[in-house]
């Protein structure tokens, strides 16, 4: 099921996500979808199925699966905790946490419950929970609706965290997440949610824990994730004009990290820039740099550069938000500095 083969159409990431949900629910009656307005009130007799989450990603699903698409109260702690309990007892819940910024209201069920049960209980529990959540800046949604907080979930042992960079991977990663017997956080970056790529129609999975070289190169490695893969690719185009050959690695999984793939590209180029939409402290970018200066030390031909968001809250004003975010231009600058 891992290699997409059949017909593909160009659809936005949001549709690819909905498609994955539809396939998962149709193929397994234990899969349920819960969250604020995921049915958009559509499970009421007088409701419509025109809504479906604040960004309409789950539009229409409630008509197909009327008992398994559950609107919840605005109670993230209750929602997540209930989903963990449901996962522990036989369901396979997919929870929508509207924006990852809201994780502060419901971290405990992830931090101390879902992630720890299997271990604490001596290997006897399974928590097949998926949390879908929107991450990232760029829509002027300001400080409490724009954060990339996946470093929090990636830092918690027992959780897995994935983030697609395109519609096709979104579908495959989400199907893999839902079918995983471990709790998985599935990030939906704002920057790619409404971008389209070719997406195969069939049921397929992108294996969790595998990065992918999305552009081969030899002079410098650009490591991205989610929306920053696009920045890395744009930077690679720009660098090519200077005669610099950049390899672009799409992490796809933030936990577990595909260390082999990172070390392989570093071994090839000796120079590495990691591009992350999150703030710089305690993040994925630091982990990758740390990996390079530990297991990858012998490959290093120069410093490892981190192009990240700024170490401040996400500002509202367009000009500030732009200055806050990483960009292709900053990746180019960092890469040039290494050569």
């Amino acid at each position: 099921m891992t290699a997409p083969t059949k017909s593909a159409r160009t659809i936005p990431t949001a549709f690819a996500i909905a498609e994955a949900l539809r396939i998962a629910m149709a193929s397994d009656p234990d899969v349920i979808l819960m969250g604020e307005d995921v049915a958009g009130g559509g499970s009421r007799p007088e409701g419509t199925d025109e809504m479906g989450g604040i960004l309409s990603v789950t539009r229409g699903l409630v008509r197909e699966f009327p008992d398994r698409v559950l609107d919840t109260p605005i109670s993230e702690m209750g929602i997540l905790g209930t989903a963990v309990g449901a996962a522990l007892t036989g369901l396979r819940p997919v929870v929508e946490l509207m924006f990852m910024d809201f994780i502060g209201t419901c971290l405990d069920p992830l931090l101390n419950q879902a992630s720890k049960f299997r271990y604490m209980f001596g290997g006897k529990a399974r928590v097949p929970l998926t949390v879908r959540t929107v991450t990232g800046a760029g829509l002027q949604a300001a400080a409490q609706h724009s954060q990339s907080l996946y470093w929090i979930t990636a830092g918690i042992p027992g959780l897995k965290t994935v983030i697609p960079s395109n519609a096709a991977d979104a579908k495959g990663l989400l199907l893999a997440a839902i079918r995983s017997d471990d709790p998985v956080i599935f990030c939906e970056p704002k920057g790619i949610l409404f971008l389209s790529t070719d997406v195969p129609e069939e049921d397929y999975e992108v294996p969790i824990g595998t990065a992918k070289v999305v552009r081969a190169g030899s002079d410098v490695s650009l490591v991205g994730m989610g929306a920053t893969v696009g920045m890395a690719l744009a930077a690679a185009d720009e660098l090519e004009r200077d005669g610099i050959s950049a390899e672009v690695l799409d992490l796809r999984s933030l936990a577990p990290l595909d260390e082999d793939a990172i070390l392989a590209t570093l071994a090839k180029t000796g120079r590495l820039v990691v591009v992350d939409e999150a703030t710089p402290r305690c993040g994925i970018a630091s982990d990758i740099a740390a990996l390079c200066v530990d297991k990858g030390f012998d490959f290093l031909n120069g410093p490892v550069k981190r192009v990240t968001a700024a170490m401040c809250p996400v500002p509202f004003s367009r000009v500030l938000e732009e200055a806050y975010m990483p960009s292709a231009a900053r990746v180019v600058e960092a890469a040039r500095g290494l050569l």
Binding site: M51, I54, P313, F316, S317, L320
Partner: protein, 325 residues
């Protein structure tokens, strides 16, 4: 409960407040349509009597915590609309230097602790303001505005319990507008009146007609007076209605048009107020018309100023993260 009759001055201010909120937000909708504003915007249109009624009982020494739907609370608490408008344009002259945007407008000098993008998060903040007032004996109160949906948050429960235990000078104003995003309140709140939830804390509670300034003013006034007397907190539920969509751009396909039309045509807080003050000869029609004109001018002026204001300097991006660097 002693009913308080608002003075003429209070009524004039109240009308100006409500009209300002209405006109400010009608202008926002227009500006969004013209592609002038970014970000997420939630309008308070239809709920003006709540903010106006409550804040008419407050001074700058009293603190208010607000929500994602915060423009009305800000205006009623005296925040300058020019600064607000500039903020929404992301200008450096914005009340938050363009850093906050609609969901984070604050003005501590006015006792406005900020709009808030996290549903329920303002409730403990107001509780903290009430704790300060109590321990520092300021005579002030802490007021939280929040929605029906927010009453399902743990922060609501924990805060009200603490306030009740500590007899804090706090007033919890639940704006029950019938909806949380696209979900009707009765679908997620199994009690008819959110005020009922006060019983879990042996807390005093009241229900007001949120479309009637006079009722909100009287009931919130009683609750605030009670708090100031040291008799503890109140949960005040104001029954109101969100005239427009959840956010600017919401298609409203999920909502029964007859329901909305009923409220909009028969329960508009500005109309209810006008009929009452004019009918009872409390204010003159000319006063209201003059205020309408002044408000319209003020908002036009705020828009012009905001459009002309320079955007922030990207070089200042890292300023003000900390007091001490």
């Amino acid at each position: 409960m002693r009913t308080m009759e608002p003075t003429e001055e209070i009524l004039l201010v109240a009308y100006r407040t409500m009209r300002t909120i209405r006109s400010f937000e009608e202008k926002l909708v227009e500006l969004v349509t013209r592609g002038k504003l970014g970000g997420f915007l939630h309008t308070y249109i239809g709920e003006e009597a709540v903010a106006a009624g409550v804040c008419a009982n407050l001074s700058d020494d009293d603190h208010v915590a607000s929500t994602h739907r915060g423009h009305g609370h800000c205006i009623a608490k005296g925040v300058d609309v020019r600064g607000m408008m500039a903020e929404l344009f992301g200008a450096g002259s914005g009340i938050c230097k363009g850093r906050g945007g609609s969901m984070h407008i604050a003005d501590l000098g006015r006792g406005m602790l900020g709009a808030n993008g996290i549903v329920g998060a303002g409730i403990p903040l107001a509780t903290g303001a009430a704790l300060t007032a109590k321990l520092k004996k300021t005579g002030g109160v802490g007021v939280a505005f929040f929605g029906d949906g927010a009453s399902n948050q743990g922060a609501f429960h924990e805060s009200l319990n603490m306030a009740a235990n500590w007899k804090l000078p706090a007033v919890y104003v639940c704006e029950n507008n019938g909806w949380g995003e696209f979900t009707p309140t009765e679908f997620v709140v199994p009690v008819a009146d959110i005020a009922e939830r006060a019983r879990s804390y042996a807390m005093h509670s009241l229900i007001a007609d949120g479309m009637d300034f006079f009722d909100v003013y009287a009931k919130s006034g009683a609750a605030i007076a009670r708090a100031r007397r040291g008799e503890g907190p109140t949960l005040l539920e104001c029954k109101t209605y969100r005239f427009a969509g959840h956010y600017v751009g919401d298609t409203l396909v999920y909502r029964n048009k007859l329901e909305a039309d009923h409220w909009i045509n028969h329960r508009d807080p500005l109309q209810i107020f006008t009929s009452r003050v004019v009918g009872d000869r409390l204010l003159a029609v000319e006063d209201l018309q003059r205020i309408d004109r002044e408000v319209a001018d003020r908002i036009e002026e705020a828009v012009s100023a905001a459009e002309a204001a320079p955007l922030p300097d990207p070089g200042d991006l890292l300023e003000d993260v900390y007091v001490q660097r």
